[in-house]
Every structure is written in C-alpha cells, then in structure tokens.
C-alpha cells in the first residue's frame, strides 16, 4: 500500500508520516510535526527540474572535455592537459591503474549518470511499469557514484599545491576544471531533485 493512497506524506528529513491535506499552509504542502520541514506528497516539479539540470550538465560537459584541465609550465614551455589526453598519457606510459581510475571517475561516471537519469525520466514520463526494482537500483547507483567524479578536480588542486616553484615550474588550473566541477555539482543536484517514488507509482497503480 502506498502512503499517497492513504493521503499520507513522508518527511524528507526525518521520515515521519504526515497527514494530508494539511489544515493550513501553502497549497499542497504540509509541515512535519516532528522537525518542521515542509513536506510534499511527491517532490515538486521533480521531472522538469531534473531534466533542466541534466541538460545544463550536458552543456557544461562539452567545454569540460575540450578545455585543458591544467597548464603545466616548465623550462621547456607550457603544456596543457585535457581529461582525455591525461588518460591517454597514462595508458601509453603503462600506468594502467591510474589511467583507468581517471577514465572511470571523469569520463565513465558522469556519462553513465546522465544516461541513467535520462532513461529514468523517459520511463516515468511514458508511465512504464516494468522493472521498478532494477530502475530503483540504477537511481541509487547514480547517488552513490556521483561524488567520485570530483577526483579529477582534487588532482588538479593537489598538483597546483605541490608543483609551485615560483614562476619557473608551475601548474595552473585550466578552464576545463571549472566546467568539470560544474558538471559534478549540477548532476548531483539533478539526482537529488529526482523523486525515486515516481519509479514505483505506475507499477503500484496498476497493481491496485
């Protein structure tokens, strides 16, 4: 039995059950009696918000890959590294472990996350009732793996801190790092604004 069928909401913070319709307050909103948080039966405008943030992240992902992550300045001149050129460099020099860590964290994870969220939005929009459990697992996966894309941003920041020899040899952050950071933040926000209960709604409505 779904809580929404009984006109009950679930507090997003403390998971207390809240009765709807509320006696007063904003339209469609109740307040949790235990912690005072605003409660909605479903996250408001979940699909639109997630889709908007996803599109933004796709746009940010292009300069994140094309612009250099960092500029390495040595006696020989300045070298610029993008994400992909870094991965290729590691693969060519035989550091397969580090190469694959960077490839997974900076290329595979963001792309996979965007694809999963697009797929979930698509299935909810078209009221698909199949495989709700598997789709929920996919959603939980996006929540778990999302933050690991930050690895590359941290690598850049640690390299900047360590390779700092007063003008002669220096590493500076490139434009790609900022856009990549934006990709991570925006995809995390997109995953947060998606309401996983929507995945189950169609299946449960058909059962009832």
């Amino acid at each position: 039995m779904r809580a929404i069928d009984k006109n009950l909401g679930c507090c997003p913070i403390c998971h207390q059950i809240v009765t709807f319709p509320p006696r007063q307050g904003k339209e469609g909103a109740a307040y949790c009696p235990r912690c005072g948080t605003e409660v909605h039966l479903r996250k408001r405008d979940s699909l639109q918000t997630t889709l908007a943030l996803l599109i933004a992240s796709v746009i940010f992902y292009i300069p994140a890959n094309l612009l250099p992550m960092m500029h390495v300045q040595t006696f020989a001149g300045t070298e610029s590294d993008t994400i992909m050129s870094g991965v290729i460099y590691f693969m060519e020099t035989g550091s397969y472990l580090i190469g694959s860590v960077i490839f997974i964290a900076s290329i595979l994870v963001p792309v996979l996350k965007m694809m999963i969220l697009f797929y979930l939005i698509h299935t909810v929009r078209h009221r698909k009732a199949t495989h709700p459990k598997e789709r929920q697992k996919l959603y939980l996966l996006t929540e778990v793996i999302g933050r690991w894309s930050m690895v590359d941003v941290y690598v850049v920041s640690i390299m900047i801190a360590l390779v700092h020899f007063g003008g002669l040899t220096e590493i500076r952050a490139g434009g790609g790092a900022v856009f990549f950071l934006l990709v991570v933040i925006v995809t995390m926000l997109a995953a947060m604004s998606f309401d996983p209960r929507l995945i189950w709604d169609t299946a449960k409505e058909r059962h009832a």
Binding site: C14, R34, L162, A173, V178, L182, I199, W200
Partner: protein, 214 residues
C-alpha cells in the same frame, strides 16, 4: 503486540514495524531499501569515533601533507595549500568548492556529531537537536574527504615520475581519519535520535512543531 507504521522514502510503501525492535537492519518489504538500522550502543560508538576524528582532523590540517622535491627545489604542501593557491589565481569557484567539500563540511559534520552524541552519552537531550539533524541531513552528500584521498593518491602517482614525493604525518592521519569516518557512517542512523526527540516533545522538553504549525 505493539507496532508502528513507517513510510519507505524510496518507494512510498507503508511498512509495519513490530515493537520492541530487534537488533539489525530493517528493510522495506516492497523494494528492499534499508528503512533504518537498530544497533544499541550506536551513540557511544559515534561519540568515541568523532572525538578521535576531531583530533585526527586537527593533526591533518596542522602538519605537512606532502613534500615534493625536484632538482634540489622542494615545495611543501599542507592540507589547505591548494585552497590558498587557487584563491591567489582568482579561481574562486574552485576555491569555494574545494574549501567546502574538504574542510568546512567534513569539519561541521564532526562537530555536529559531537554536539548530538555528546549530550546523549551523558544522558541529556542535545540542544537544538532537530536543527542539528536537519543540517546534517542536508550537508552529508557534499562532504567528499574520501574522494579527496583518492585524488591525493592519483596525484602522488602522477608526480612520482617527475621528482621525489615525501608523505607527511598529515597524510597518515588523514588515511586513518577516512577509515574512522567510513566506519562511523556505516553505523550512524538518525532514527533513534528522532524517536527520542518525539518523546521529549511530548513531555514538553523540546520545541513542538506540531503546536507551532497548528
């Protein structure tokens, strides 16, 4: 037998939980997601873990993190050096992001845990407990110390070819800190604290939001 209804926040299923609770993990019968965990002794363990974590966090920030030597030149980096250089290069977005995710939020989380579990351990109700739990719930996804550790390891491997890397005391303290915080995260569950808050609200010891709304 007494029971209670809990709502699964992943699939919106109403789940019946029999009381008294047994030790272990409670799962949603519909989707299998963990509803909450019931482990007596959680508060004591979390208190101990986060006292240790606070000390390790201070050690991590005080001592040198890594030293890099190349051709007789050496540059030493603290945990916060990156933030300073990013700021000097006017990369404000990166500065704020690194500062928040590796310093401000992890430190606030340790302090919040201490503010909650400390009074509970000594048998008192923490002040502002609902607010503290609410802040905790909102900032948790943005603390990324564990990701930073992987970033540090990747950059060590990157730099080893260019020169000599000397790990500092801070790096070891940091690695232990990550393990401690991961263990704390695996046993932490706000559920029993919310139940205590509800009880205290009924006895009028904590601000009652039901009255404030009505």
């Amino acid at each position: 037998m007494e029971s209670r209804i809990i709502c699964c926040h992943e699939c919106d299923e109403l789940c019946k939980i029999p009381y008294p609770l047994r030790i272990g993990r409670y799962k949603c019968p519909n989707c299998g997601h963990t509803l909450f965990r019931h482990y007596p002794g959680m508060v004591e363990k979390l208190y101990a873990i986060h006292i240790a974590a606070l000390i390790l966090f201070l050690v991590t920030n005080w001592y040198p993190f890594l030293t890099f030597e190349v051709l007789g030149n050496s540059s030493e980096a603290n945990f916060t050096t990156a933030v300073r250089y990013l700021y000097e290069e006017h990369e404000y977005l990166l500065t704020v992001a690194v500062l928040m995710t590796t310093l401000v939020i992890p430190f606030s989380r340790i302090v919040l845990f201490l503010m909650l579990t400390g009074p509970l351990y000594h048998g008192r109700m923490p002040r502002y407990a609902p607010h503290l739990l609410k802040i905790m719930e909102n900032i948790t996804p943005w603390g990324m110390l564990d990701v930073f550790l992987v970033g540090a390891l990747v950059s060590i491997v990157k730099l080893v070819k260019m020169g000599t890397i000397i790990p500092g005391i801070s790096l070891w303290a940091f690695a232990v800190l990550i393990l401690l915080l991961a263990y704390g995260q695996s046993i932490a569950d706000p559920h029993p604290i919310w139940e205590l808050i509800e009880k205290a609200q009924k006895e009028g010891r904590v601000k009652d939001y039901a009255k404030a709304v009505a």
